[in-house]
């Protein structure tokens, strides 16, 4: 039951798999140099990649010509990615490009990533153009440490539940968008299926807690780049300790109530079993997660993600969609890289070159996929999506999804991906987007706070203990551990960040 930020993001990954995108960008050729620079690229993905060499060669064929750079991809499954990178860091191995998933905060804090502002100015003009004001995605002490993934960056909290049961019991899915409606539905389902678990926690044992859904008072919440106790709510630039808020208490009370009514798995705080996995066995009615959304999330949608493989699923939005600072997918450059300039050139091309972007996401052209005459892409004959030999699972995680060809399996609209990215402009943008907390001044306090959180949070959030007695104890211990100093420091840095942004 580790509460790491990594798995917080792994959680989204599963659902994000289905996205694909498009858009064309102009390819910008640069002068070919005689010497070919070789860079390494630490990359994560959801699947396996036996065809790594073919894809590398396809990429290199493009980049060798245009910018004189070759890439050597170090491909890791997402499950082991963070550990593998950790090992490389501990061994002080030289890295170049490093894909980032959720742990930017630590990487930037420990000096593992280098600030890239100058490089962006010199070699990353196209990246700047594509990203616009989303560029500054990990800003610590005024310096930017990474290039964001460019795609649909809107996230929304959804309740994912079994469509068949909802239909059978004549529940209006739209009614479940409010807490009252949700509870009414739970009651009905519980009465009809008393053996079934109504709602299960995610991989970290969280049922409701961090999804921050006190909708009447909080339209969106930002966990400041992935810290759990530092949050800002709505557009109020005041940093608050999430655990002290009324919203948190309200949620705990609600989950406790669910626990007592028998909606929740009793052992959820102590099993390592991921509760939501039992969804696939049919023993679970619903689970909550935080996912990337297409289009307009105000209506319940029948979801096409992973869980839909076994059961048709309604994804019911229960909070507003938001582009927050916690969206930390991207790529950075290792501080011990000797090829930082080549890395930036390579990234810059990735952001604009259609074939290169599609290759990184889907495999080699004419081997894994082919271009149709109408400008859409499709898989080659005999290549199965899901088992293609280059299974990134998500083509969008690195670079600019807008520069990829649209696959016919996703949409017939050649502008599909452009629209995805345009959606970012209409979403609520957290004022703290891009803020990265430099926790060095309060490291001691944070380590102490972490151990207090470890002690209380999971039990409280599982609903199995008495909120009224334990929550005050929890808050008091956090205070003793120095949470106020951490909040103050975060506030100071955030104020600075916001002042700079203006």
């Amino acid at each position: 039951m580790k509460r790491t930020k990594k798995s917080f993001f792994v959680r989204l990954m599963a659902v994000l798999m289905t996205m694909v995108l498009v858009l064309s960008g102009c390819t910008q050729a640069e002068k070919k140099t005689d010497e070919i620079e070789k860079i390494k690229f630490e990359m994560f993905a959801w699947g396996e990649a036996p065809d790594e060499e073919i894809v590398e060669e396809a990429l290199n064929a493009i980049t060798r010509e245009k910018i004189g750079v070759e890439v050597d991809i170090e491909f890791y499954n997402l499950n082991v990615y963070s550990e593998q990178i950790g090992l490389k860091i501990a061994g002080d191995e030289e890295m170049d490009l490093v894909a980032i998933i959720g742990d930017t905060l630590e990487l930037a804090n420990d000096g593992i990533l280098m600030p890239i502002d100058d490089l962006l100015d010199k070699y990353g003009q196209d990246i700047k153009k594509v990203c616009g004001d989303l560029l500054y995605y990990c800003t610590m002490d005024g310096k930017n440490y990474g290039v964001p993934f460019m795609g649909n960056k809107k996230y929304v909290t959804t309740l994912n539940c079994r469509k068949d049961i909802i239909d059978e019991l004549n529940i209006d899915p739209a009614s479940m968008m409010t807490i009252d409606g949700m509870e009414a539905a739970f009651e009905k389902v519980h009465a009809a299926y008393p053996e079934m678990t109504i709602i299960a926690p995610d991989s970290e044992g969280v049922i409701y807690g961090y999804y921050g859904i006190d909708r009447e008072n909080v339209s969106h919440i930002d966990f400041l780049g992935g810290t759990y106790y530092l949050t800002i709510m709505n557009d109020d630039p005041t940093v608050v300790d999430f655990y002290e808020t009324e919203s948190y208490k309200k949620e705990l009370k609600m989950v406790q109530d669910w626990y007592e009514k028998g909606y929740v798995m009793k052992d959820s705080a102590t099993t390592d079993e991921v509760g939501s996995l039992s969804y696939y066995d049919g023993n679970l009615f619903s689970y909550i997660n935080w996912q990337n959304v297409y289009g307009d999330p105000v209506e319940p949608v029948v979801h096409l993600g992973l869980s839909a493989i076994t059961y048709p699923t309604y994804s019911i939005p229960i909070a507003d969609d938001v582009v927050s600072s916690a969206d930390t997918l991207g790529v950075g450059i290792s501080s011990n890289s000797k090829h930082a300039e080549a890395c930036m050139k390579w990234l810059n091309l990735l952001f604009t070159d259609q074939e290169m972007c599609t290759t990184l996401g889907f495999g080699a052209k004419d081997h894994h996929w082919q271009l149709r005459e109408d400008g859409l892409a499709e898989y080659c004959e005999g290549i199965e999506p899901g088992n293609s030999g280059w299974e990134t699972g998500f083509n969008w995680s690195i670079g600019n999804v807008g520069a990829c060809y649209v696959f016919t399996s996703v949409s017939d609209d050649p502008d599909y991906n452009k629209k995805q990215i345009a959606a970012n402009d209409t979403a609520t943008r957290s004022i703290a987007y891009g803020f990265c907390f430099n926790y060095e001044p309060v490291e001691t306090q944070m380590a102490a706070c972490d151990s207090v959180v470890e002690k209380y949070a999971l039990a409280l959030e599982s609903g199995s203990v008495d909120v009224d007695t334990l929550l005050p104890e929890f808050i008091a211990e956090l205070k003793a551990a120095g949470i106020d100093e951490v909040v103050q420091e975060a506030q100071r840095q955030l104020d600075e960040f916001l002042a700079q942004k203006k």
Binding site: D92, E106, I112, T444, A447, S451, V465
Partner: protein, 308 residues
Amino acid sequence: MKHKQTSLSKSRHYSILYLMMVPGLLYLLINNYLPMVGIFIAFKKLDYSAGIFKSPWVGLRNFKFLFATSDIWIIIRNTVVYNIVFIILETVLGIWVAIMLADLANQHLARLAQVTIILPELLSLVICSYIVFAFLSQENGIMNNTILPALGLRPIGWYNEKGPWPVILTIVYLWLNIGSQAIIYLASIVGINKELYETADLDGASRFQKVIYITVPCIKPTIVTLLLLSVGSMFYSSFGLFYLIPHNSGMLFDVTATLDTYVYNALMHKNNVGMASAAGLFQSVVGFILVLTANKITSRLDPDNALF
């Protein structure tokens, strides 16, 4: 034919033995001594872009987090008190079981009993944690669903209630470790001269008297050695026992947190090598003091059995 050995020929004589010592020494050197160089990391803020040696010194700042909460005293108490209880019970019960095994007349039965007792020791603690979970689970556990209702008691939220855990952990520990202890004691009991017991029988000694006046004094060296070994690691705890068996349930930390689990929980998030080294150093220093103290006491009481 006798002749006096020179020291040279003596060392030649033993050279093969020295050679056999080399792998062990190398292992000690690489595994136990070389990493000690890294101790200085405990006093640094590690900055990967600067490298280990150029990272800035921060004095004792890395140690602060250990004492940032009052928990440290609870943690030290847990670590030490559990170890004392374990050592005492393990020794007493180990000897007791060994004596019973030695008294079993049926050899087949004795063998069977030995194997059964030592079997849990071969289990991985992860498996043990699920065996315990099978008893204590709220949803399907044997305790809450079968045993407690049969006794007319209310189910207990085992992983949220601190009360029973010192007992549960002790039982699990003994279940796991009593076997090997008993076997070691059994080995020395078997070595006791049978005539002593026969004489005692002639004098009309009771079974209990034989144990107190013959068995225990005869195996005293074994007891002292095993005790000393345990005391040396008094400031260390079995990470698996305290982390896996309670499923790292936060509600139980007051009675299950030991230095090892605290450090693990506090530092898993941040990968902070400096703080981790600081915690390790602290543990080693206190452990070292404990070994010295234990040895001192032993050499007072029984100089022959002290380690140095």
